[in-house]
Structures are given as C-alpha cells and as structure tokens.
Assembly symmetry: C2
Homo-oligomer: 246 residues x 2
DNA sequence: CGTATATTTGAAAGCTGTCAACACTTGTGG
DNA sequence: CCACAAGTGTTGACAGCTTTCAAATATACG
C-alpha cells in the first residue's frame, strides 16, 4: 500500500491488520496520470471509486460565464466520489494539477465493503465526510473573510491537511499552487489575488520557488487567518468505533 | 409517516412497501420545537439521527468576529447529521427558524440499517449526499456571483427544494425568511442585502407578506440567476439501485 | 406599552473587479 | 540551441460594488 494513503488510514488509529489487508487487496488497480488530465468530468459518470495515492487535484465547477470555482483541493489520502454510484452524474470536474498516482476499485464492490468490512467502510465514510466539513469551512472563508485572510486561511488549511498524511514536516511546506489556482479557489479575480499574494510575500509569510509556493511562517499565517483547526479532526469518534465491534 | 417526509422518500421512487414500513418503525420518536431553538450546537454531540418532518432550520457556523455564516437551509425531508456518530463533535449549529416537527432514531441503530435494509440506507445516504451538492453550489454562488444573482439563485433553489417534497405548488411560493437570514447566507452585509432585496422587490420578482417572502415570478428569477437545476437530482441512480437487488 | 429585533436610509470609505498592456516563464518544435 | 507560443505573472488607472457607520423608523413580542 502506498505510504501516504497508508498514513492517512493509519492516522485514524483504529483499523486492525485484517482491515488493512482487505483494503490492500481491494485497491489493487494503479494508474499514473499527468498534470492537467481530468479524473472526472462535469456531467460524466464514475464506475470506479478512486483514491489519491500521490499528487494533487482540484474539484471545480464552471459557471455560465466561463470562469471556474474551485470547490476543494484533492490531496494524497483523499477519496474521489465514494458515494458517486448513487448519483446519475457528476456535478463537478476533478482535474490533476500535478502528476498523480491513483488507486481504485469497482464502484459495485462498495456494498460488499459495507457488509463485510464495516470498520473499513466507516473509515472511508469518515474520510469522505471530512470533505463536507472542508466545504463548509470554504463557505465561511469565502462568505465572511476578506481577501487577505481568505488566502492565509486556505494556505494554512492545506498545510494541515498535508501534515495529516505524513506529507510534510512541521515547519516548511511546499504547495504546488500558482496564483490562478488561488484566485479560482478564493472567489477573487486574478488581479486581486495577485495583489494579496504580493502582500503576504512582502511580509515574508510565503515565497515562491520554481512554480510552487513555500509557506515560511505558519504560526503567523494561522494567526493572521484566525485559523481554528477544529474542523480537521484527526479521526473518527471512539465510541462509534467501539459500537462496531459488538 | 409524516406527509412531507413521505413525499421526499417517495419521490426517489424505488423504496418498496417493506422499506417504508421499516422506516416508519425506525423513526418513531417525534418532537416539536419552537423557532429559535437549537437542534444542534457547535461543539456539541448528537446521539440521535434526526429528520425534519416539518418546518425550517439553518445550519450555520459563527466566525471569530461574532457574525455567522449560514451554510445551508434545512427543509422538510432533510436528514440532520446522518453520519454524525463518527465525528467527535459538530462543527456547526442547527437552529430552527420556524416551529418544527422532528423525527429521530438512536444513532447506534444506523449500522443495523446498513446491514438489514440496504435500500433504505442507500436512500438516506443519498439524501445526506444531496446536502454536499447544495453546499458546493453555495460555494459557486458566493464565490462567483454578484449580490443580485446570488439572492435570486438562492431563492430559486429553495423553491425547487420545497417543490420536491410536495410542499409548494408550481407557481407561488412562501419562504419563512427575512433579510437578515438572506444576508447571513449570501455572505453580504445586512445593508447591502437590503438594497438587493429592494431591487428584486421593485422588479416585482418577490414581495413580502407578514414576515415571509413570496416569490412572484420564478421563471424570471431563474433566468436572472442563470439557474441550472442539475445539482438537484430527483433521486438515486437507477443502476445503483438494481445492483442492490441482486 | 416598552423592549428587542428587523428594516430603512444616506453618505463616505474601502475593497475588489475590470481593462489593457507588458514582462516573464515554461514548454514545444524546428 | 533558438524561436515561438501559450500560459502565468505584473502594473496602474479607474469604475463599481460592497461594507461600514450612524441614526431613524417600523415591526414583533411579551
């Protein structure tokens, strides 16, 4: 099993070795894709449930005017469309923004997982559910914060999410982002995102290096953003897990 | 079973009479609450999975500055926290904005439902998943639309969602909303929400009547908002259902 | 009837978007 | 290796949208 995905599952701290083994067997298929490739298209359907083993993607919708809104970033350890089989079609696209490695299993095996390996099913549901919480925070970010705080808040969130799957050390942090991606995520124009970006850069909170962004001072960024990490829980609730073991 | 909730389940068009019977037994508990009561509090936990049989609520988070962002409106037929048992605590509050009737069942029976009544489990997951799609559209609304379109778009969405559970006729539509709720949902200041509101009122698209909002011309509103209803699917995907019957 | 909540208004400040043009980087093919 | 194209970053000016402030009015509620 891929190391990052393993870390993510392991960080939840309640799967046993059998569960891991099952997961390892279940997610056999591997494929590599390039930056810019679409994993899923608005209006399309999905026959396999996919897992990000490595690389970044964005989940986005495009509006009538042609500009897009990024809903969320898809990181190593994330699930893509766990419950997608019950929907007629996807309402968003998923597009790789780095080269990626994906694992997957056929969507019609999902029921089997729920029936036979409930702890794993719960874990996967939990991972998928995290996604909804991140969407909620994205709404607060866009709806109630000014541009500068918005950007700082997003950057800190991404760092925390990376750290969770063993991807980055405490201090420095490289994000494969550019200003366009930031503006499309934050609901800002490209020009204004650039202005805000320069401001953070001027204050030595971030810098750029060969096409990626480096977070220089996470403490200050988090402070600037009033970052409250509550919505990024480390794992499922203990009692729920114990209930499963009865 | 309550008529609106029944409508919602029935509109999915694939539960059989046994499933309905099970659902009816499962969701025995009933309670009425008043406008302003909290169904769930930020930081609290939830031991029962709750269903809106009648009335409206809002799901919201408050930011450090004290102002709140409404994430979504909770309408008849909606589920509150289907997967909540796997989380340590709630990251948002749910607050009634009208008097309400709620049904519920103990959270620890959820696994039983997944094991024994998979079609019902699927239906409930589908209803809960709809919520995520609505959140996504909320992100696009706030991130990529101007104030006027934002408001029009939200109003049309609410109408469509009400229609889906048999709550309103094709033409007119009463929404138990005020300008504060609209501004808190749309990420606007109260003052600006008011200006936009008056504009829609002036154009005879909406009007007020004893504390609620009436949508006067849904076609024009939808047109003004570039409303695309794709994200509000009527029910789960056929093939997924058939797979369950094997 | 009094208090709290919601609506209303105007003016001013400030944030953000748009426009338009230019520089820079990256990747591709010759 | 160079030239070109495409994408990304940069800048200033300006318009326009939105917030904030502050105060008055209206409405709902006990």
């Amino acid at each position: 099993m891929n190391i990052f995905f393993y870390h993510r599952l392991e960080s939840l701290n309640f799967l046993d070795s059998e569960d891991f083994e099952f997961a390892d067997h279940l997610i056999q298929d591997r494929r590599n894709i390039d930056s810019g490739d679409f994993i899923l298209t608005e209006g399309g359907t999905q026959r396999r449930i996919q897992f990000v083993l490595d690389g970044w993607a964005i989940r986005h919708k495009s509006s009538v005017d042609g500009d897009r809104q990024i809903l969320n970033f898809v990181l190593p350890g994330d699930v893509i469309g766990l419950f997608s089989p019950i929907y007629k079609q996807s309402e968003h696209s998923v597009e790789a923004i780095t080269s990626m490695t994906l694992g997957s299993f056929p969507a019609d095996r999902l029921l089997e997982v729920f029936r036979d390996v409930p702890r794993l099913a719960l874990t996967l549901s939990w991972v998928a559910g995290q996604d909804e919480r991140i969407l909620e925070e994205q709404i607060v970010r866009i709806g109630r914060r000014r541009a500068t705080k918005r950007m700082a808040h997003l950057l800190v969130e991404l760092h925390r999410r990376l750290r969770r799957c063993g991807y980055t050390r405490e201090d420095a942090c490289h994000l494969p982002l550019n200003q366009l991606l930031l503006s499309d995520s934050l609901g800002l124009s490209h020009v204004h995102a650039h202005r805000v970006f320069r401001e953070l850069e001027k204050d030595a909170l971030i810098k750029r290096e060969s096409g990626s962004i480096i977070l220089l001072d996470l403490r200050l960024l988090a402070e600037l953003a009033d970052f409250d990490a509550g919505y990024l829980e480390p794992g499922p609730h203990g009692p729920a897990v114990r209930a499963l073991n009865n």
